[in-house]
């Protein structure tokens, strides 16, 4: 029996600032699931999820510092690996 793979999740406030970020996550994580709840978006994906600065910049049309993400993060799960270009959430499998 194969072990079911754990899911990582990222929960963002749903507002004008995060709209482009959510779209970027959709582009970079084609398998991710998006659950729109009142005032927030809960994004889950199996095993790993990444937020890529370059994709976000294309979506929002300006320079983007990944640290800006933290203003709108409600919660997350997974090990965080963050540098200037990409934020990755993973579970050690």
């Amino acid at each position: 029996m194969s072990e079911p793979q754990s899911k990582v999740f990222l929960c963002l406030q749903a507002n004008d600032e995060t709209r482009g970020i959510v779209e970027a996550i959709r582009t970079d994580n084609p398998d991710a699931e998006f659950d729109y709840q009142p005032g927030m978006v809960r994004i889950t994906n199996k095993g790993t999820m990444k937020v890529v600065r370059e994709t976000v910049e294309e979506e929002v049309g300006r320079e983007f510092d990944l640290q800006e993400l933290h203003i709108n993060i409600i919660s997350l799960s997974g090990h965080v690996d963050e540098d200037d270009d990409v934020l990755t959430l993973t579970w050690n499998s």
Partner: protein, 330 residues
């Protein structure tokens, strides 16, 4: 008594305006999309303008470029009034800080006299060129079709006015008000400025707004900004001890980088639409580029003297590479 709180999610009937949803599907739209798509008046035109009865007030036929959907012209910076004003306000603050840094440390006095004079002779008359560029973008905003391109054109017109004002402030910082009058006389009478002034004035009577876009925003700005603010002010003048000029021209450098993104996106959209458009764009570039280069040479010579030609060639080669990437014949 026990109370249980329960959240009820109320789905909005519609996520955005119907005309925006028709373009992007029923999902939350960004403010840029809501403040841009289909804002241009179409249909039910009033009488035709007396001053030009060939066209409606808002008429797609005012340029030879043809688009199935004029909203293919999008601004990659996604500026609507709110975001545009916020970005510029921040840049204004940065520029103010640079100006007051230069002023409070008296950096102007540290510049060798001959370098200061050459830099001012080059920089100050350019505020008249910036005003011309502003007028031309006003024209595009007034006669262009589709808010996707006319809206950022109006912002570009305001930006060019801002650039003219920053140049004026540089003049007042490094010299005095008389320098502005002298620069106006230079612009009107000095031999080295006449080709550029003639080009600027010819463009003010150009009737095809997309041709004007190419001539002003792609060709002239695409050559002038890297040459004057990159090669001359940031490199040459700074090396000769005038880096204070670099600080007061910071907005122009940042703005040019940003404007390139906008301009390139418009050219790409036009070229992608049809071979006829691509041919027109190439034809217009071929028409205006040699004139722009020829009129910038005497201007570059003010500071670079006999090295001006080589510097201009380098800038032009870089510009040709940019055109190549846009699918335009250089």
């Amino acid at each position: 008594m026990q109370m249980d709180l329960k959240t009820v999610e109320i789905k909005p009937q519609r996520e955005t305006y119907a005309h925006v949803a028709a373009r992007i599907g029923s999902k939350p739209a960004s403010r840029y999309q809501e403040g841009t798509f289909d804002l241009q008046s179409t249909g039910n035109p009033h009488y035709r303008p007396l001053w030009d009865p060939r066209f409606d007030y808002f008429d797609e036929a005012r340029t030879k470029i043809a688009m199935k959907d004029w909203y293919d012209f999008k601004d990659p910076r996604q500026y609507y009034y709110g975001s545009y004003v916020m970005v510029r306000a921040k840049q204004q603050e940065n520029a103010e800080a640079s100006f007051s840094f230069v002023e409070s440390r008296n950096l102007g006095h540290a510049i060798p006299e001959d370098v200061k004079e050459a830099a001012l002779r080059l920089l100050l008359p350019l505020r008249h060129a910036a005003w011309g560029a502003s007028m031309n973008n006003d024209f595009i905003a007034a006669y262009g079709f589709g808010t996707g391109i006319t809206q950022p054109a109006l912002y570009a017109a305001m930006d060019q006015l801002g650039i003219a004002q920053f140049i004026t402030r540089s003049a007042l910082l490094f010299a005095d008000a008389d320098a502005l009058d002298a620069a106006k006389t230079q612009w009107m009478e000095a031999d080295e400025w006449q080709p550029l002034r003639r080009l600027a004035e010819d463009l003010m009577v150009e009737q095809d707004w997309f041709e004007l876009f190419i001539a002003q925003n792609l060709v002239i700005d695409g050559l002038l900004f890297p040459l004057v603010y990159g090669t001359i002010i940031d490199d040459e003048i700074s090396m000769r001890g005038g880096s204070a000029f670099s600080m007061t021209c910071q907005f122009q450098v940042d703005w040019a980088k940003e404007a390139v993104r906008w301009t390139d996106a418009q050219i790409k959209a036009a070229v992608k639409e049809s071979d006829e458009n691509a041919a027109l764009v190439s034809e217009w570039v071929a028409k205006w580029k040699p004139r722009a280069i020829a009129s910038l040479l005497p201007v570059a010579q003010i500071v670079l003297e006999d090295r001006a030609e080589a510097a201009l060639e380098e800038v032009a080669a870089e510009f040709d590479r940019r055109l190549g990437k846009l699918g335009v014949a250089a």
